[in-house]
Structures are given as structure tokens and as C-alpha cells.
Symmetry: C2
């Protein structure tokens, strides 16, 4: 892996994958802009600000500039805070949040070019998702939050590439990352998840910085008898890890969310939207809802709802939101929406039932109306899936909407232009300057 990352060439990355890197980064920046004043981000900034180093890198959508480790930490939290980031469906890794923030901070600090950033991002995501593939499905099922446990390797690989480390030093960076991998599924609906997300980016960057200074790792830190994979419960599938390196690209399989909630909920939302549209069903008409999905849907999203973190991984709230508010956007997953009396009542009329015959990624929703009619809608592929992908224009619109929420002073049109032309930008600092809030431009 070290040799692959150190030896790869940008002009050997297929044009479609190069473009996918821009789509992923735009989607990630949009998510971070949207979350810039979200409590998880405000709290993270307040927690680390007293200990942050020199202003080397920007916090997306905010006035602060921190040292690159601290900026990576906060921006990874921001990119993931709304659960609005991207998804590598096979592993359910959210690839961008742990990787891009480390690379953006490093590139801003060292004045590196956009093409180098994009290439490092492609390679970081490749390592992150291949490690995920190599330990899927046992790793997540056992309780490891795969985005953070594998994300730290992606951030390390991408950072090593961006620093220009050689193959051996890059391998050490990956091995150092193995001693920093962590994060558990039990904490997914709590603030602790954000801390682990921030650590994945920060510690991946730290791994590369330490390797750059000569720090070493065991030769088989990942796959050795007492290495990361086995400690975390899995044998590594070596073919998944190294087969076809440079020939197939994991980033090509990235997807983007139209709704700020767990991706397993997206077909449920699309089915509810279809029922509204086809049959004019609104909340007052609903006597009961049955959601049928793969057992995985229930394992992830059939849970009590106490706050917006719960709501974003709740079948019941997602259904209630669509029938009540005709939408499933940031507002519909806010604490206000969660506490809405009608939403609470409607959540209570939703039942989830597992049906192993329904594929992962699909769902069937059946509504019994107060007048006794039953309507059903089945969605095979949700909007935003690989089969029905978000277009570039969709991602632009999503970015604009998010910027309005979290950083209204941001010139989002220029951000969008800058990302689409990132491969020609000579200094990533130009992009990062566009992402800072007006407060920053006034006070700097």
C-alpha cells in the first residue's frame, strides 16, 4: 500500500474518478458549511480552542483558524455532524469526513496545489475503503464504527502522499495509524461519535507527520498476528486490500445523500414522498404506517427517539417528517421537529418489520389511512444511490442550501467554481479563504 500511494500518478487516475473527487469534496465542504454553527461543531471549537496552536488552517464556515491538527479535528466533525456526508455503500464508510479535512489543512498550511490535494484525496479514500472492504462485514457488526476506524488510515495515506513521503515512510504512516484506530458503534447517537470522527482525521495526519520525522511502525501492523485487523476481530481479506490497485477505484462507488440522515432511511423517505405525491396523503390521514426492510434497516434505525441525533437514524421520525412536513431536510431533523407534538404522535403510529427478501438499499412503506384505505409504495433504489446518483447540479444545490444554513456570508458560487476547477488551483489556500465566514474576513 505504501508503494502504491507513493508511486501513483495523477494522470493515471481515470477522468471520471478525478471528477468524483471534486464531487466528494464539494459535497463534504457543503456538509461542513451547513454544520458550521451546529452545536456539535460549536462545542468542538469551544473544547479545543484554548489548546489550539498557531493559525495555520481554516475552520470551514467559521472565523477561526487553528493549527492543522486541530483544524482537521474540527472540520472532520463538521463534515459529518449532520450525517449529510457521502457513503461508500459496501462498507457504509463515509469516506470524505476523515480524509479531506486533514488534506485541506495540510495543503493550506504548506501552500500546495489543488491537483496534488485531489490526488492525495483519491489515494486516501482508496486505502480507507479497501481496508473497510477487507474487514467487512464482521468489523462493523462487532461494534467498530468503520468510518473512524478505517478513516484514520485514509487520512494517514492521503497526508503521506501530500507530504511526498516515499513508499517505506508511507508504510510507517499507515502502521502508526493502526495504533490510533478507534471508535465504536454504541456511541453513534452521542457526541462521542464526533470526537472519534475528529480524531480519525487528526490522528491520520499526525501519523504522517510522525513518520515524516522518522517514527516507525511494525512491518505488519495491519495484518500481523497481533496487528490491528486481528485485534479488532478480523482476518484481513488480502485480495480486497491489494487486488487491482490502480485498476479499480473505490471512490468511483461513492454516493451522496439528498437527506441528512442514515442512508438506510433514504428508500423509506422516497417511498413516503411517493405516497404523498401519488395519493395526497398527509399526516392527518395516517392511521398507521408499516415499514418493511432488510433486517439491517431495523438493526440500524428501529430505535427510540429522544433528540435529533436519534432522529437522524430513526425510521419512525423519518416517516413522520415526510407525512408532517412534506420534506426530510435539515429542518425536519432539528430538535424542534423532534419535539413537535404531532411528530411525536405520528412516530407512535409507525411500525418497522424486517423482511429478509427486501434487498439492502430498498424499502416498502404501507400506509393505512383513517378512512381505512391501504396504500403501498416500494423503492428499489433511493435517490442518491449508485443506480440513481445525485447529479453535479444536485450537489451544487445541496451545497447552496447548506451554506445558507450554516454560513450565509459565504460566497458559495465561488466555492462551487473553485472546487470544479481545483485541479488548476496552484494554492489550496485560495479555496480555504473562500470557506471562511465573513466574521473571519473582517477580523483577520
Amino acid at each position: 500500500l505504501g508503494a502504491f500511494v507513493a508511486g501513483a500518478r495523477w494522470d493515471e487516475v481515470p477522468a471520471a474518478v478525478q471528477h468524483e473527487a471534486k464531487r466528494s469534496i464539494l459535497n463534504g465542504l457543503g456538509a461542513a458549511l451547513g454544520a458550521a454553527i451546529y452545536p456539535a461543531v460549536e462545542d468542538a471549537v469551544a473544547t479545543v480552542q484554548p489548546f489550539a496552536g498557531p493559525p495555520q488552517a481554516s475552520v470551514i464556515g467559521r472565523p477561526e483558524r487553528f493549527d492543522i491538527l486541530t483544524a482537521s479535528f474540527v472540520n472532520a466533525i463538521g463534515a459529518n455532524a449532520y450525517d449529510f456526508d457521502d457513503t461508500h455503500l459496501h462498507t457504509v464508510i463515509h469516506p470524505t469526513a476523515p480524509v479531506a479535512p486533514a488534506l485541506l489543512a495540510l495543503a493550506e498550511h504548506r501552500g500546495l496545489a489543488g491537483a496534488d490535494l485531489l490526488h492525495a484525496f483519491v489515494l486516501g479514500v482508496e486505502i480507507e475503503c479497501r481496508l473497510g472492504n477487507a474487514v467487512t462485514p464482521g468489523h462493523y457488526a462487532r461494534g467498530w464504527h468503520i468510518t473512524t476506524t478505517c478513516g484514520v488510515f485514509g487520512a494517514a495515506a492521503g497526508s503521506a502522499r501530500l507530504m511526498g513521503l516515499d513508499a517505506g515512510t508511507t508504510a510507517h504512516a499507515l502502521g502508526i495509524a493502526a495504533s490510533q484506530s478507534g471508535g465504536i458503534v454504541e456511541n453513534l447517537a452521542a457526541g462521542a461519535k464526533s470526537i472519534a470522527m475528529g480524531n480519525a482525521a487528526r490522528n491520520g495526519l499526525l501519523a504522517a507527520l510522525a513518520a515524516e520525522r522518522g517514527c516507525t511502525a511494525a512491518a505488519r501492523a495491519i495484518e500481523g498476528p497481533l496487528g490491528w485487523a486481528r485485534a479488532a476481530g478480523d482476518e484481513v481479506d488480502v485480495e480486497e486490500l491489494v487486488g487491482g490497485l490502480g485498476a479499480r477505484w473505490e471512490l468511483a462507488k461513492n454516493t451522496y445523500k439528498p437527506y441528512p440522515c442514515g442512508i438506510v432511511l433514504h428508500p423509506v423517505i422516497d417511498a413516503c414522498l411517493a405516497l404523498r405525491q401519488r395519493h395526497g396523503i398527509a399526516a392527518a390521514d395516517v392511521a398507521g404506517v408499516i415499514v418493511n426492510g432488510h433486517p439491517l434497516l431495523l438493526a440500524r434505525a428501529d430505535r427510540p427517539v429522544a433528540n435529533e441525533r436519534d432522529a437522524r437514524i430513526s425510521i419512525h421520525h423519518s416517516v413522520a417528517a415526510v407525512f408532517l412536513f412534506a420534506a426530510a431536510g435539515l429542518r425536519e431533523y432539528s430538535d424542534a421537529a423532534v419535539r413537535d407534538a404531532a411528530a411525536i404522535a405520528l412516530r407512535g403510529r409507525v411500525r418497522a418489520e424486517a423482511d429478509a427478501a427486501i434487498p439492502v438499499g430498498a424499502a416498502r412503506v404501507s400506509v393505512r389511512t383513517v378512512s381505512g384505505e391501504i396504500f403501498s409504495a416500494e423503492v428499489a433504489h433511493a435517490r442518491g444511490s449508485l443506480e440513481l446518483p445525485m447529479t453535479d447540479a444536485d450537489i451544487e444545490t445541496k451545497t447552496r442550501e447548506l451554506a445558507k444554513v450554516g454560513c450565509p456570508s459565504c460566497d458559495v458560487a465561488r466555492v462551487i467554481d473553485a472546487v470544479w476547477t481545483l485541479d488548476r488551483m496552484t494554492d489550496v489556500g485560495e479555496l480555504m479563504a473562500l470557506l471562511r465566514s465573513a466574521r473571519a474576513r473582517r477580523s483577520d
Copy 2:
């Protein structure tokens, strides 16, 4: 655990445990002083210095002052760098390195009292070692470096206590720590181990700081179905975790090393020293050496030696050092000693053989001399074990020797006095000032 940590009272800690806290901290400070200019520490400082925040806390034995998170990181690396720190034998956790640095930094920054520091330390070690007990022996055997994986909980618990967090907030700090636990055995002989050691202290402190700001964790982040313990492969032994809280104290079982190497090697060294002393055997007399020990001894310490990190967990080098140099101190585990041609030759004449009848902690060494005689020595309990503990005077001597190596400008007599009277010190900053190198006192 949160209620125990938040509600505990210093005057209910037995006097012997209170004193053990001072012994542990003195031993830990000595280890850090000794390693102050050791490459792993120099490299760690060089790696993080460009990103460190305001000078809030001292780096032990050095001129730098960093923000408390960065100081915790570096001091934990220092305390453990020489493998000269303490050992909780049942778990093989080295309790002080991940816990004390976080608490010392926090106490220095906030101007807290020595008794509060000692109490927080006792409680942090209690949580750290109980978690270790609750997942021993499977956790380490699977590849988790238990000092770092459990150390982060100890640092979180101690920091929460020192901040005065309530029971619920302390529980959140422990749950946040669960999402930051990491570190693998495969990396033990590499620099990556030091990075994980630094992270354990830093991230435990970060967990408490985040909890203080309102960050939450799942109610069952440790023992839940997708929580830390099961993700890492173990069911928690709840009785080990919470049985007899406040009645039995894990710190009472702490031990200190007379030799800067893996603790499993200590009976081997004592046996070799006895053979030298009783029979006057030196390197030139040795035709061959057989070391018999529990299979665990071989699993940990029967390995090829390429550098000093290897040497400090090598049966072969430890035996060679005693017969060549009549000692097993810092000098005998230096890279120069490892590369010594006579040491290389003598290591080649040492063989390790497992004997399950020999208890862990014991060893038998048999030497065949060039004249054909065979001498054996058996050690049931090594110097520094619970049965043959280091005295206060031994720890003082060790601290003086270490300070001479790493921080000769340090007034070690005052450091020793300050630790023995720490429970009467009103501001831990006084102790930390004594631990800074003369360079610091000149330039500050």
C-alpha cells in the same frame, strides 16, 4: 464508575494507597526525566511543537511548555519511553504513564492542589486497572496494547475527578474515552507504540474536557452490545469492574522496575546476576545459556534483536548484558550496547525454552561454561515484584540515576521532597517548575 469517581473522598483512601500514589508518581517522573532527551521524546516534541498551543503545562525534564493536551501527549511518551515505568502485574498495564501526565498538566494549568492530584491519580489508576482486569487475559492476547487501550479510560476518569465533574458527566467522559481507545501489540517495538501512549493520556484528558463542555456518550459505551469491550473482543467481567469499589485498590498492587526492560525479563536478569555473583561467571566463561520460563516469557521476549526497542524485550540481550556488563541499566540497553560485537556474539549463545511448570514471574537460567561446568540459578520472585518490592529509597535512587541521564540540571533532591509532600502542596505548578530543565528556567 462515574458515581464512584465523582463521590470518592481522599480521607477514605487508605494511607498505604495514598503513599503508593506518591511512589508511582515519583517513579513515573523519574522515568520521564531519564527519557527527556531520548530520541522518542525528542522526535515527539519535534513532531508536535509546530502545532502546539499556548504554554500551559511543562514538558518534564525539558525547556518546552505546551498546551495541556500536547504536554500530556509528550509526557506520557517520556514516562514510558524507556520501559522503565510501573507495572500492574495482573494485567501488565503500566498504570502511571497514560494517567499522571494528563493530571499533572491539568493541575499545573488550573493551579490545583497536590492532594487533589494524588486522589485523581488513585481513582484514574483504579478505573484503568479495573477495566484491564475486566478484559484480561483475552484483550492483550488478541493484540490490544492494554496500557493504552485502558489507559485512556484512566486519564479520562482522573481528569474528570480533577475537574470536579459530577457523576453523570464523569460517566460521559468514560464513554467518550471508549470511542478513543486504541493501540496494538504488534507495534510494541516501534515508535508507533509511543504515539499510542501519548494519545492515551491526551485523549483521556480530551474526553473529560469534552464532557465538561456537555459532550455525551452512550449510556453503555463500555459494556453495551456494540460497545468498546465487545468490539475489542471481550465480554466485560462486571464483578472485576465494580465489585468492592473503594474497598480494594488496584494501585496497592503496583510495582516498579529496577531494570529498564520488559518486566518478564526481570527474574532472568536476577538469575544471571546471581550466577555472576555466586560463581564469578563473566562473558568469556559462557559457552551457552538456557533460559527456562513460562510460555508467556517466550511469547513476549524470544525475538530477534535489531535495535534497543527490541533489546528491551529480548531474553537474549538481557542475558548477554548481565554477563558482559555486570548490569542491566539504561546503558546496557542502549543502541551502542545492542550493536556491541561481544553482545551480538553472546546473544547467539542464548536459548530460551518454555516450561509451563515455571510460574509467570519466575525463571531458571543455566549456564554451561567453556570449561564444561553447568551452573543454574532459579528466581521465584524478581526484585521489584510484589513479593520483593522496591523500597522508597530504591525508587529515590532510581530517580536520581535517571535524572542524571536525561536532565542533569534538575534539582532532583527537591523533586523527591516535593513528591513525598505532594499532599500538602497547594499548587502542583511548584512541582512542575522543579521538573523543567535549566534551559527552561533561563529562557522563560
